[in-house]
């Protein structure tokens, strides 16, 4: 325990959470997560919970312990789409952020055990009502140009994210949504929402309680850039991380090398030992990464799809699988014909059987989706009665809605996560046929799909993993939020979700989620067939490679056998 491991004040909700844990109402892991979000150091939270940390880090650092066998040096070759590095605040791909994550860092860092730890922040405290958050920043962090990292950098970034001209998607996250106001159609930061207390302390003032502040600060477009930042980042890649950009050719390669000096002085990285000399990203499309890996020209790849699993098994490498809350929603827009009639939507949902995808598409892996977008791996997941397929019921409802001879529908499919989206649509088509619903699948390029994802009457959209069920419901299903692609709007639902979000007790929150999930499931806005696992592979010479459900690359402690 170092001095900065003991916060000055333990949030009352941590005590509340500990009581819940002691009464068996909250799991120990969940306690650790919540306590860490509320500013307790992970080490202290684990010891309070009486657990050995699932992800052992060094005191005061978010990175794993040094490995005494580790060898220094070498080049890690990674197959991934190599994309532009323009403005980290407007990144729309995890791949972009992976290229950048070795150069720029975040205030917080969510480790693979789902615990959020301090990174460029050293600690944080929340007020009792969760509306005022104070972040103490880490001292001794140096930018690659020799400047010292301080509160000015953080304030500069927050203001950029919430400036409408930046066009950052961060504005959709709960934390920042609670710091902006909308006037005459323009969203802007409420003046004074972020306050500078001294060189290393900033305070956030939110308009409503938010528990996920620390988690939001590790969303991939929230990397902290230097206070002088002007896009494109690739032209002047000043960061605080151990690597810097040496060459970027979009669609070809991205070469990262260790930083040796900063502003004329030797550069000392704040985060301790780093083993690799260089990281090379080579551009390969998703379907080509594993085949190139098979040739032995790569050490690891971004991901491979389930259809390539047999090939991966035949290769000499370590397959890394992560259970995730990544999913697809075949959602119907409730304002468009014929989906404005709930009987049609219900008929579509009733004619489908969500239990088959796990076996047909993912060879028994993943989790069955239940049309309410809360995953069994979310802490507040409430198990509703199992969905039953009812073909006759679907036919009856269609007849009632004025389609006695069945109905023809078209779903737009962009395969934005790979060809398995189309497989899902084809299975749906076969199931719907039994109920007299003729489904056409309109396959379009991924980039085309992202132009219409929010407006098409019927489309299949990919949603990424988020650690809490309430986070994704807030982003996608509240009335009139930007990402509400189904146009679903129900004040009852919004109210129930508010209540769940404001409840710390996981048992209680789970009870409250029962209502939230039920409302959404009954509204029949989507068929959500599966929670998918993600796969990657490394050669046997790669050690310390972290599996991450969101596929974030953080290679500080990765090392290579010669």
């Amino acid at each position: 325990m170092t001095s900065n491991d003991t916060p000055r004040r333990i949030h009352p909700k941590v005590h509340e959470a500990r009581d819940l844990m002691n009464r068996g109402r909250m799991s120990r892991r969940e306690f650790v997560r919540i306590a860490a979000l509320l500013g307790l150091s992970a080490g202290a939270a684990y010891s309070m919970a009486g657990l050995t940390p699932a992800f052992a880090t060094q005191p005061g650092l978010p990175f794993p312990q040094d490995d005494s066998n580790a060898k220094e040096g070498g080049i890690l070759r990674v197959g991934m789409q190599v994309q532009r590095m323009d403005d980290p605040a407007t990144y729309s791909w995890v791949e972009m952020s992976n290229q950048t994550r070795h150069i720029l860092e975040y205030l917080t860092f969510t480790t693979p055990d789902n615990v959020t730890r301090p990174m460029l922040a050293e600690s944080w405290e929340a007020s009792d009502d969760l509306k005022t958050w104070t972040f103490r920043l880490r001292q001794g962090v140096v930018w690659h140009n020799g400047d010292t990292f301080n509160a000015d950098d953080v304030i500069f970034n927050f203001e950029r994210w919430m400036n409408a001209e930046t066009a950052s998607s961060n504005i959709g996250l709960s934390t920042f949504a609670a710091m902006v106001e909308e006037k005459d159609g323009v969203k802007s930061m409420i003046p004074g929402s972020i306050e500078r207390l001294d060189d290393y302390t900033v305070r956030l003032h939110l308009t409503k309680p938010v528990l996920s502040v620390a988690e939001d600060l590790y969303n991939y477009p929230t990397a902290i850039v230097h206070r002088s930042f002007k896009p494109p980042f690739s032209d002047n890649p000043i960061g605080t991380g151990p690597f810097t950009l040496s060459e970027l050719r979009v669609g070809e390669r991205c070469i990262l090398k260790r930083v040796k000096e900063a502003g004329g002085k030797p550069f000392t990285y704040w985060g301790g030992k780093v083993y690799l000399d260089e990281i090379h990203y080579y551009n390969f499309d998703e379907d080509n990464q594993l085949t190139e890996f098979a040739s032995g020209n790569l050490d690891t790849i971004y991901e491979f799809g389930i259809e390539q699993y047999p090939l991966a098994e035949a290769l000499d490498g370590n397959i890394i699988e992560a259970r995730t809350a990544q999913t697809v929603c075949a959602r119907m827009r409730v304002t468009e014909k014929p989906f404005d009639d709930i009987r049609v939507r219900k008929a579509v949902v009733m004619a489908c059987d969500n239990s088959v995808y796990k076996d047909l598409v993912f060879q028994g892996r993943g989790d069955i989706g239940e049309n309410h977008h809360v995953s069994p791996i979310h802490p507040e997941y409430y198990r509703l009665p199992e969905l039953k397929r009812d073909v006759e019921g679907a036919k009856a409802l269609l007849a009632e809605a004025g389609y006695p001879d069945g109905i023809e529908l078209t779903i737009d499919c962009g395969n934005t996560d790979g060809p398995w989206h189309q497989t899902v649509c084809e299975i749906m088509r076969d199931q719907l046929k039994d109920a007299g619903i003729r489904l056409n699948i309109n396959v379009i390029p991924a980039s085309r799909y992202w132009e219409i994802w929010d407006t098409t009457p019927f489309g299949i959209t990919a949603w990424t993993h988020r650690p809490l069920g309430t986070m994704v419901l807030s982003l996608g299903y509240r009335s009139n939020v930007p990402w509400n692609e189904s146009a679903f709007s129900d004040p009852e639902f919004d109210k129930a979700l508010d209540e769940a979000e404001a409840t710390l007790d996981v048992e209680e929150r789970r009870e409250k989620m029962a209502k939230v999930e039920k409302i959404l499931q009954d509204a029949a806005v989507m068929i959500q067939p599966i929670w998918r696992p993600v796969f990657t592979i490394t050669t046997k010479r790669v050690h310390g490679f972290p599996a991450h459900p969101t596929q974030y690359h953080q290679f500080n402690k990765v090392w290579l056998d010669s």
Binding site: E165, A167, S169, E451, P482
Partner: protein, 316 residues
Amino acid sequence: MLKLLVRRLGQMLLIMAVVSLVLFVVFDSPEFKKQIAVNELGGFGVRALTEEAYNNWLEQKGLNVPFHERYIDWLGNILRGDFGFSFEKNTAVGPLLAERLINTGILAFWVFALMIPLALGTGVLAGMKEGSLQDRAFSFISVFTTSIPEIATAIFLTVIFALGLGWLPTKSAMTQGFDWRQLVLPVATLVIYDFGYVARMTRASMAEVMTSQYIRTAILKGIPYSRVILRHALRNALIAPFTVIVLQLNWLLSGVVVVEVFFQYNGFGKLLLDAALFGDIYVIQAATLAAVFVAVASQIISDVGYTLLNPRIRFG
């Protein structure tokens, strides 16, 4: 001859002007602007923008200027040798295009170096004795290979030689610098697809020559058969294949997309696909100009060559 050249070059400039203008008009639609926005900011990002923020973004990118103004600007820059800037790749289009054309040129060179002798050889051998066993065998092979799509050939070759036997690399991204082994599969795929067409053209031309009077006369005069073929028949039989081969240049530039994308080879075809999917207007424009240039240039070469080879044809 000179008149022909001038007329053709005039036509070329006209085509380029019309095509580029049409592209500018097409890309001026709000849908295409949204496509660029979606590709830059992501679908979720664009959705989070207010109307005003979106217009701001367009202004930053210089996309809200009326297209005729943008077209005039672009034209002026082209004349100065500046092909604009790639939205997707964050780099000047000129050097990028030049590099990709060179890469595809390397591919094309090897394809031609292997295909021409192979196609002419089989075509001549097949056409020498129409209806013979060797003719039937060669014709069958030609039709068979041409009828398999390139993508299927690429997959078969990869599965057999790269994944199965492990003799060759699976992809051709040249990540560690130039590696000739990575050229083998893409070149083989293109040769297998293309040689049959040229071979059948050669065969038809050869067969026609073999039935002509002067060949029969030469054989009856007792000139050795080999000499009849090499001296008398080939000269006339190769005129038609010559034009076909030159026109393959044009086919190769567009037909190479599938192979380059499959093998992840950084050439002109992959650039074109990336740009089309992204809506990278200045790259598409420059690539189109290059494609039009190659199409017209290959036609001029084949016409001029044909007149030189065949004294019965005169342009002018």
